[in-house]
Subunit: 219 residues, 2 copies
DNA sequence: CCCAATTTAAAATGCCTATTTAAATTACAA
DNA sequence: TTGTAATTTAAATAGGCATTTTAAATTGGG
């Protein structure tokens, strides 16, 4: 029994790495197997040997990138479960922003592309991998907003937070394309931006919580 | 026999309308002239007759959509220039969200696609048409944040606001693709979402303003 | 050295696109 | 009505590039 994992993994891994980068940059349709193999220094037929087809490579490379990033930036930031909800939320936002801002992170860029040009290929895998994170954030938001918060308020706050995080992705992706020459958005300091989002969002959440309570007590 | 209701639109206008819709839906590359002409009920050669080529149609249809939407939702919301900066900012956000949320608005969806897959074709036109709006919002933000605000803080707050607005676009575009079946994001009530973004953002801005002032006075 | 796993080059396969041309039709003005 | 220009139409042009398959060459372990 020859060892199937040591040597052969090399090309396979190079393909996964290159694929996640290229898929993130161009999306599924515009990414070509030729370019991926070029960056991976592999023959053009290797994709069909190691993976069956382009679609499978797409799924595998996303999973590959996502797991790598998740190991690098734990979603809970190593925080206890009994910490205050706002602190947990803050850690979660920071982890998210860092994962998005990392130059070598591609899973969110792939999601972003998938949102812009849905192929439905990632739908199942996203539902399975991302929805849990989503639900956890909903729970934290519910705590932060108070039990009087409506489902809609929670959804809106979630949209506000995710929108800010994805904005970083957008600006990161457009760095080379210089859409607005005059006011260059310098979001390169990911850590500072993460803390801004935390501060901005916690204040927004507090404002909505106060208003909800005031409404409740005044009725 | 005055034209009552059914005045047949000019082919050129039908092409512009259909083009803006299709370009918004698929982006420049994936949109085909055939499909545009199909929806416009025009012959496939009409694009090359009325516009020179696909690229010109792209530019013209964006301009067409943008001007229509701008006339429909004035950016300043008909507010005086001497109104409080926060109120002006609120109007500006509402106008933006409404323009993005309108089912028949396509110029922002086109920008969104252009950001995801830059063709550089719209770069000049965007610089000319959108940058002024951008600068006005920067000025309002500077007022709201106080003169002690740093350039970075202004940029971050701008990113926070724009990110929330674009989030609406993302979710609107993905309605049919249902990426998360369990928790359907219902952002259909555009007006309510607009007011949420205003409340959320003004609170975030206030928090940053307070912190900046405190830092300043305590040093 | 042998065999299976892997890599390679080249060809097969497939499909769709923007654009042009020239003829047919329409609209309109004289 | 008629002549002319604008518009619309159908068909042909011309180009391009992608994924996948095949069969031969190579590699490396036992």
């Amino acid at each position: 029994m020859p060892n199937l994992k040591t040597k052969p993994e090399k090309t396979r891994t190079r393909l996964l790495t290159a694929a996640s980068r290229i898929f993130a940059e161009k999306g599924f349709q515009d990414a070509t197997i030729a370019e991926i193999c070029g960056q991976a220094k592999a023959n053009i037929a290797s994709v069909n040997y190691h993976f069956r087809d382009k679609e499978t490579l797409y799924l595998e490379s996303w999973r590959f990138a996502f797991n790598q990033e998740l190991a690098l930036y734990p979603p809970d930031g190593g925080l206890m479960n009994d910490a205050p909800a706002e602190q947990q939320l803050a850690e979660r936002i920071k982890s998210l922003v860092r994962r998005i801002g990392d130059e070598n992170s591609y899973s969110f860029a792939i999601i972003h592309k998938e949102m812009a040009q849905p192929t439905r290929l990632l739908a199942d895998i996203l539902e399975k991998e991302i929805n849990p994170q989503r639900l956890q954030m909903f729970a934290l938001l519910k705590e932060c907003l108070g039990q009087a918060a409506s489902e809609q308020q929670i959804q809106y706050c979630h949209a506000s937070i995710m929108g800010q995080c994805f904005q970083l992705l957008r600006l990161k992706h457009m760095q080379g394309a210089r859409p607005f020459r005059s006011h260059p958005s310098d979001l390169s300091d990911t850590k500072a931006f993460a803390e801004h989002v935390v501060q901005f969002s916690l204040a927004g959440i507090q404002a909505i919580r106060s208003q909800t309570i005031n409404l409740k007590t005044s009725v």
